[in-house]
Symmetry: C2
């Protein structure tokens, strides 16, 4: 027996960045060996192939995003304020225009949709879990009487994530920062309106 020498999380985060920057197809194995510090054989030994590395990186991404989500929605502040902070954080990510701040899930989904059904399903499931987490927070807000709408929490969550998807695409057209803020504000108002 022998254990792998490399730090799996570090390697996967490096691969994530590379995939986010260039996309899956344009990221060569050479790019990946450079980014991860691993030699081709090691990558193939640990992840089977380039596609396997993407799948592993997607898993790491989901875990990281999930942790991040937890930090935003923990604590005993008002849920509506947590949403506000979360949206604000997302807008700031979009504004930074840093490729490392894009959403790997939607980026990869857009690239492989209609090409790799297994990965499409995997990503869709990840996004659905995120959406469910948001629905739970809406439900909580309702229970706290912070949100008086009669709308279904699931529906609200879907609309909210749709808004964020849209915001991220809109950001790629390089609008001014305050335009993005306005859009996020509008989304917030529409979701939390009575």
């Amino acid at each position: 027996m022998r254990n792998a020498e490399f730090d799996q999380e570090k390697v996967l985060r490096s691969a994530m960045k590379a995939f986010m920057h260039k996309g899956f197809a344009k990221t060569s194995m050479q790019d990946l060996t450079k980014a991860t510090g691993l030699h081709p054989g090691s990558i193939y030994c640990a992840f089977e192939n380039k596609r396997g590395l993407l799948i592993a990186a997607l898993g790491q991404y989901r875990e990281d995003r999930n942790t991040e989500f937890g930090t935003f929605f923990s604590g005993d502040a008002a849920v509506v304020d947590k949403f506000k902070a979360y949206l604000d954080h997302t807008v700031r990510e979009c504004i930074s225009c840093d490729s490392a701040q894009a959403c790997l899930l939607t980026k990869a989904l857009n690239e492989v949709a209609e090409q790799d059904e297994e990965i499409q399903t995997l990503i869709s499931e990840n996004l659905r879990l995120w959406q469910v987490g948001i629905a739970e927070q809406f439900e909580l807000a309702k229970a706290n009487n912070e949100l008086k709408t009669k709308k279904d929490s699931g529906h609200l969550a879907r609309y909210f994530v749709m808004g964020i998807y849209g915001l991220r695409v809109f950001a790629q057209t390089r609008p001014e920062a305050n335009i993005l803020k306005q859009l996020a504000d509008q989304l917030y108002q529409d979701v939390f309106a009575a």
Copy 2:
């Protein structure tokens, strides 16, 4: 002198389909010669290279979409009803799950952002023109007293296109058809609410 033998529009629409189906990077010249019926040399003679073919295809796409937009917003029906029909059409496109019905502009934007600034600018400008067309229709609706909001038409248009961007991404997660309809309905209500 000698004129090109092929039908430029047909060629560009074939290239469009190929790019929409596989994305720019994964569409090989072999795919393109097969799709267009042109030989490599002809493509290079007419479009300089693969990237030039994408740019030309993007232009054709914009023209086609522009014509389509015109048919939806011509006539003397109420502007709000035209918007309803337009949204409905977009939802039906999303539901069809046909790769040929995706939006080439957003798909390509997502792929080349941070990689090819010139194309990113080109696509962003195309999307902005679409957005301006929508803003004009909102302005018209206001003039007709169909839309009583105090919100700026430009802002409404940005929010509307953001919603459509989001809807298209959401559709890639393969939701049920009525879920997409609900989301589009909500968008319509939020935009046209007093």
